[in-house]
Symmetry: C2
Subunit: 216 residues, 2 copies
């Protein structure tokens, strides 16, 4: 299909598609002439994925490009890709501060040691440089600075529940045999489910609060 049809079918403007092409988020079409290129269903699917990542999930164009790049490079090695895509975007980085640095020590070494101990105690196989470790340490540092410290003992039951959530996540990928499909789905599940899981926690908190504080 031509650019105009790709635009119509994806609901993304021609200008925006050209921008994604220029930024390398979308692979080039098959060049028909100096001014015309042909696009296919892979482009359409990729466009929908880009829109979901940038729109629904609010990721930046450069984070999205890095994620999609990892997807291209590591087709066929799902474990490596999962490590990369999970590692490459810390939740804090995507929902990041609007410029100003936080007060809490961004590299509180006591908290970082606490996180590393937690991971060891859990027996988790996770690489040392995973950004999620830093995100956890930063959260512990801010909670401490707010006078509401949480130690790794308090985090442990949360971690056990996260373990079971992760098992559900990986279950979703079972039975998919086309590698690039597994990759894309892994990305979608990891990144797009995040707001949904937080939303479920909010609803569950409201329910639990109602249950505990019900009159009579």
């Amino acid at each position: 299909m031509r650019l105009s049809e790709l635009s119509r079918r994806s609901g993304v403007s021609v200008t925006t598609i050209k921008y994604y092409l220029r930024e390398g988020l979308l692979p080039p079409g098959r060049q028909l002439s100096a001014t015309q290129a042909e696009y296919d269903d892979d482009h359409l699917r990729r466009l929908r994925l880009i829109r979901a990542l940038t729109g629904v999930r609010g990721l930046s164009v450069s984070t999205t490009r890095d994620l999609l790049g990892a997807l291209e490079e590591h087709t066929g090695d799902i474990h490596l890709l999962l490590g990369l895509s999970l590692g490459s975007i810390g939740p804090a980085a995507s929902a990041g501060p609007a410029g100003e640095p936080a007060d809490a020590a961004s590299e509180g070494s006591a908290e970082r040691a606490e996180v590393d101990k937690l991971v060891d105690e859990l027996g988790w196989v996770v690489h040392k440089g995973a950004p999620a470790r830093t995100t956890l340490a930063e959260t512990l540092a801010s909670l401490r600075s707010l006078g509401a410290p949480l130690d790794r003992r308090a985090l442990l039951p949360y971690a056990r529940l996260a373990e079971r959530t992760a098992a559900l996540d990986l279950d979703q990928l079972e039975g998919l045999d086309d590698s690039s499909e597994v990759m894309e789905r892994a990305l979608v599940l990891t990144v797009l489910l995040e707001p949904a899981l937080l939303a479920l926690r909010r609803l569950a908190q409201e329910n639990e609060s109602a249950r505990r504080h019900a009159d009579g």
Copy 2:
């Protein structure tokens, strides 16, 4: 203490403190003269909370003001406050899209019905207007548009885990008797723990992926 000392002890610049005062995030100090006011430890604690919400968590100034306003108004009624603070900021709203609307129907009515059914099946007591319901519906709509649909049956085990996470959250508030302390802590736990919980899921996914895809 004077403004300069409040700035020194909080690590927040005088200009920024004045901005928070003007925007109503920080209550005014006790006026000593036309040009001088006196601040106390409540101001200091409030400043740290503001910095954690805007910095670490990346909330906008207006969302932060709304949350803090709910905190002021509903001291003494923890259930109401929890409903408000949990309801008032959808995760999607805080990590929101950078301007452009998502392709997926933002009010996919089929998905919204699916979410409402899920909540009913769970037996959760949650008000109809909770923004988290919309966040969930939006996620389902994007997953569908990406050809990776998830129905409420797939969400159910996630919801059961969210239930247990929420019970842990509420446990953290037990034994706190000062109402305003409970309120602040509820807010901190709800909002600041979000990136930490997502980080735990990432680490757990990496571990689970390593476990399932280990060679040999």
